[in-house]
């Protein structure tokens, strides 16, 4: 497609009153020799749009630049189809609404924004999707418990083939060991049958689901649309090809031997929830020591959970599980005494009905700190401080004590087979002041052949990392979605829903990959990074820093990109010191030329220039909001959006300084434990890189404070003027960049 640029300058919404539109047009026509440039007072109106459409149809305009309002508005009006490159110059929100009207400096700002965009177009190529041949549309589900079986069935129902892998010899997971389950449906009052048989039957009867039992994963190689999974079964191995993976390996009970303080191990009659479930499944619940049918049972909640010494988190399911098990006892003998010692009863939502049911059956709930469990020749005594009675209390002659011992995700256990390589690696990296790699616990589940490690990176407690509020399924390994209690502590009803959602994400990833599009958050983006490998110095930064582990490495240390794993954030591009990584429509030279296109006045003009790199996810909308609220800020700044601060290549700072900019401000998302960065690690990595810039600046004889990074979230728009103006003032104090004019 020939590149023919058309510039359309809108003078509506007060733009025409504040700016000299003719002078602006000259930037396009004279400086940039743009062949088509039109002005209109209402481009988003029907006639205005027609003007542009006509140029596209008759004048073969292929690159459309609309200088007017922000790209956040009128996106639907200015939609000219995929064959036209559309760029918006935000004169309204970013210039006219934040600056003095009819002012020389305002005009200079507007002209610079037009230059930036035109410079961008010079370097911008239309990306072509990376489409893999024969994208595999099957989904592998790892784990055959409730979540895994649900995912498998739901994926199959949507018309896709499934490979279901279970390490035990039959499907079912915890359902197999359960007598009944907490109700999944209204009215949420009675335990329900596990439905295991029906579920297994449904899977076995579904020709779209291939089940492997007694099978583990030896190796997972490849990428979305083309995973090669080596399964280990018996002594042998076999291969399966799939397009996406659902990790549903669930959780295991917290190790009860660590609960000696609650009597575990002291008596066979002190059991875990899981053990109690097995007893219930056998028929009459009888105490293990002598087989006597139980008359008095004590449940101890938060046995391990909500305990800084054990599991700091709440295991979410145990309250409901204990209510269920208490009802077993009551069902067996309505006269039985059942005591539940708790911290808080967390029967959230409609499970409140379940709690009420247990109460009305006579189960007694005691808010207490348990101080001890003792065995008196088979009979047990729970001693506790009853917090609501304000006195010590004891339940004696108990036949059994059940410990609600919580859950630990299967991903939290380091397989001893691995040794301590991971820690060593992490220690080395830390010594290097390089970014500390994500904690990847070698739990021997997926065994990914990924350069960054064999499993999903975790955030805390071994649960896989994700933006768990807004985008809960988006792990840091594209095409691999965690579901059920491996993702976060949850009860069975949540696990069913969770597994269904993960099924959608797997299917979606496959369909997106098939079209060459990215998944969240740049959904549908077809651009992807090219690597000019002949210039690679094997520094490994790209392979180490990619937040999504998209890049593998050959034995010489060359990067082996996997475009279908890529989320298109550009972190690799930012990391590369040789600048060999670029997207067709986003590259180091492109941004470099954009910033170089800005006119930096001579020192004696006393017009400083501050460059702002702003993350397009949060900082750019915040800057728009500042405009919508007509908040005024310094006229010396020029803003360039970036995909993520992670894509910030330090050469741009160099470029900016050589060009004569007096300062550079970086606006990115919050990082750390409660990160908001949409690419999880991008802004953090930018910060680490930036820490190395000061040295360079010092070498150039520049104050390192001239480059500053700040966190801006979408609601910080009221702070925008303060952030910008204070930085400009600070720069002002340093005086002009001595490199100006060189």
């Amino acid at each position: 497609m020939a590149k023919k640029i058309g510039v359309y300058i809108c003078s509506g919404c007060g733009i025409g009153d504040a700016l000299d539109i003719d002078a602006l047009a000259k930037v396009a026509t004279k400086e940039y020799k743009v062949p088509v440039c039109q002005k209109n007072a209402f481009f988003c109106g029907k006639e205005g749009v027609e003007v542009i459409k006509k140029d596209i149809a008759e004048n073969e305009v292929t690159y459309v630049v609309i200088a007017g309002c922000s790209g956040r508005v009128n996106y639907d009006v200015f939609n000219f189809g995929p064959s036209v490159v559309l760029e918006r110059v935000n004169l309204r929100e970013r210039v006219v609404w934040t600056q003095e009207p009819d002012d020389e400096d305002t005009q200079m700002m507007a002209e610079d924004y037009l230059r930036i965009t035109l410079a961008k177009l010079k370097n911008l190529e239309l990306p072509e999707a990376y489409v893999i041949e024969n994208c595999n549309k099957r989904v592998m589900v790892v784990g055959g418990g409730l979540a895994g079986m649900t995912s498998a069935v739901e994926v199959a129902k949507a018309g896709y083939e499934v490979v279901l892998v279970e390490k035990e010899d039959s499907l079912g997971g915890w359902l197999k060991r359960s007598y009944k389950i907490a109700p999944l449906n209204s009215p949420y009052t009675d335990p329900e049958d596990t439905g295991l048989e029906a579920r297994v039957k449904e899977i076995e009867g579904n020709s779209n689901i291939k089940v492997y039992t007694s099978t583990t994963i030896e190796k997972t190689a490849g990428a979305p649309g083309m995973f090669d999974v080596t399964l280990k079964q018996g002594g042998g191995t076999l291969e399966e090809k799939v397009g996406a993976i659902i990790l549903a390996t669930g959780a295991v009970p917290y190790e009860p031997s660590k609960l000696g303080h609650l009597g575990y191990g002291a008596s066979p009659n002190v059991v875990t929830q899981a053990q109690f479930e097995e007893l219930a499944a056998k028929g009459t619940i009888a105490r293990p020591s002598d087989g006597k049918a139980v008359q008095k049972v004590g449940f101890i909640q938060c046995a391990g959970s909500r305990d800084q010494e054990h599991l700091p988190y709440c295991s979410a399911a145990c309250c409901v599980e204990s209510i269920k098990q208490a009802l077993y006892v009551k069902g067996q003998n309505s006269e039985a005494a059942v005591y539940v010692f708790y911290k808080d009863i967390r029967s959230s939502g409609q499970y409140e009905h379940f709690y009420k049911k247990a109460q009305s059956e006579g189960v007694m709930f005691i808010k207490a700190d348990v101080t001890g469990v003792t065995d008196d020749g088979g009979n047990l005594t729970i001693e506790a401080n009853d917090l609501l009675m304000g006195s010590p209390t004891m339940a004696d002659e108990l036949d059994m004590v059940v410990l609600a011992n919580g859950m630990v995700p299967t991903t939290a256990f380091e397989d001893p087979a691995y040794g301590t390589e991971a820690q060593e690696e992490a220690a080395c990296a830390a010594a290097d002041a390089a970014p500390v790699p994500a904690p990847i616990i070698k739990s021997n589940i997926l065994n990914l052949e990924y350069r960054q490690g064999p499993e999903l990176p975790s955030l805390k407690y071994g649960f896989p990392d994700s933006h768990f509020i807004c985008f809960p399924y988006e792990t840091r390994r594209t095409g691999i979605y965690a579901a059920g209690s491996v993702r976060r502590p949850m009860d069975m009803s949540q696990a069913v829903g969770d597994a269904t959602g993960a099924a959608l994400k797997a299917v979606q990833c496959i369909e997106m990959t098939d079209k060459g599009g990215a998944v969240h958050p740049r959904s549908g983006d077809i651009s992807f990074p090219d690597f000019q490998l002949n210039r690679c110095t094997q520094c490994k930064r790209c392979t180490e820093e990619c937040p999504f582990g998209a890049i593998n490495e050959d034995e010489k240390g060359n990067p082996l990109p996997n475009p279908t794993r890529c989320r298109r954030c550009g972190t690799c591009m930012g990391a590369c010191p040789e600048r060999i990584i670029s997207f067709k429509n986003y590259s180091v030279p492109m941004l470099g030329n954009m910033l170089k296109s800005i006119e930096v006045p001579e020192e004696d003009e006393e017009k400083p220039r501050v460059l702002i790199f702003a993350c397009e996810n949060d900082a750019i909308p915040a800057l728009d909001m500042a405009g919508i609220n007509r908040l005024q800020y310094s006229k010396w700044v020029r803003i360039i959006p970036v995909r993520c601060l992670g894509s910030l290549n330090l050469v741009w700072i160099n470029d900016a300084m050589s060009k004569g900019f007096d300062g550079v401000l970086l606006m990115g998302c919050k990082h750390g434990d409660d990160y908001q960065c949409h690419f999880m690690k991008g802004s953090e990595l930018a910060g680490i890189r930036l820490s190395k810039v000061s040295e360079t600046l010092d070498r150039l004889g520049l104050e390192s404070e001239r480059v500053y990074m700040t966190e801006v979230n979408v609601m910080d728009y009221d702070r925008i003027p303060k952030i910008i103006n204070e930085f400009v003032e600070k720069i002002d104090k340093f005086g002009p960049n001595p490199m100006k004019g060189f």
Binding site: G362, M389, P392
Partner: protein
């Protein structure tokens, strides 16, 4: 409200006693209490009670027989109904309190003034089909004994005189209602029905 202080070691649970309480007409409602404490705050006489209804229920569930009989909680209930209206678990607290009073009396715990009053009141109604203040007074003080007469009767004399003046306290007993026997029969039937309900 007082704290619960037990000098002789921890509280032990007595399921027998709890079961007995649950078997009262409204006793099973006690099981539903989730210990929120709304009842105490709603209670008009909360400052008089040694245990809030919430805590009383906890005592009953854990089977604290002695504490129950010692407590004044149910006796202080003035049946204002506020707790029953507000209880988030729908426990008819007033009705439970009534049952608890009856239960205590049936177990011979009649030494409380309120118990004497309830009993006297009922006797009057039973014997005449209506209330006679003089008779009620006589029955009540007969139960309470000389000490109470000395303490109360003189303290209340002004009120008595005022009532006399306004003809609100006839000196002579009124005639019994017509068909007193039938009224009594009706009550017996109702009682029997109640018993049957409780047994069921």
């Amino acid at each position: 409200m007082t704290g619960f202080n037990v000098s002789s070691g921890p509280l032990k649970y007595d399921t027998e006693f709890a079961r007995e309480i649950y078997s009262l007409e409204n006793g099973h409602h006690i099981k539903k209490c989730m210990q929120c404490g709304m009842c105490e705050v709603s209670c008009a006489t909360r400052k008089e009670m040694d245990y809030s209804p919430r805590k009383m229920f906890l005592l009953l569930r854990t089977g604290q027989r002695e504490e129950f009989f010692k407590s004044n909680t149910m006796w202080m209930c003035s049946t204002c109904l506020m707790c029953k209206v507000r209880c988030p678990r729908g426990v008819p607290i007033v009705d439970v309190m009534h049952d608890l009073k009856c239960y205590a009396i049936s177990k011979g715990y009649t030494e409380r003034a309120q118990a004497a009053f309830y009993q006297s009141f009922w006797k009057e109604i039973w014997s005449r089909g209506k209330q006679f203040e003089g008779g009620l007074m006589a029955r009540y003080y007969l139960k309470r004994g000389w000490k109470d007469i000395r303490k109360d009767a003189f303290r209340m004399k002004d009120m008595g005189l005022t009532m006399l003046k306004h003809g609100r306290m006839p000196l002579m007993p009124p005639k019994s209602v017509k068909g007193l026997k039938d009224v009594q029969k009706l009550v017996e039937v109702a009682k029997a029905q109640l018993q049957k309900g409780a047994d069921r």
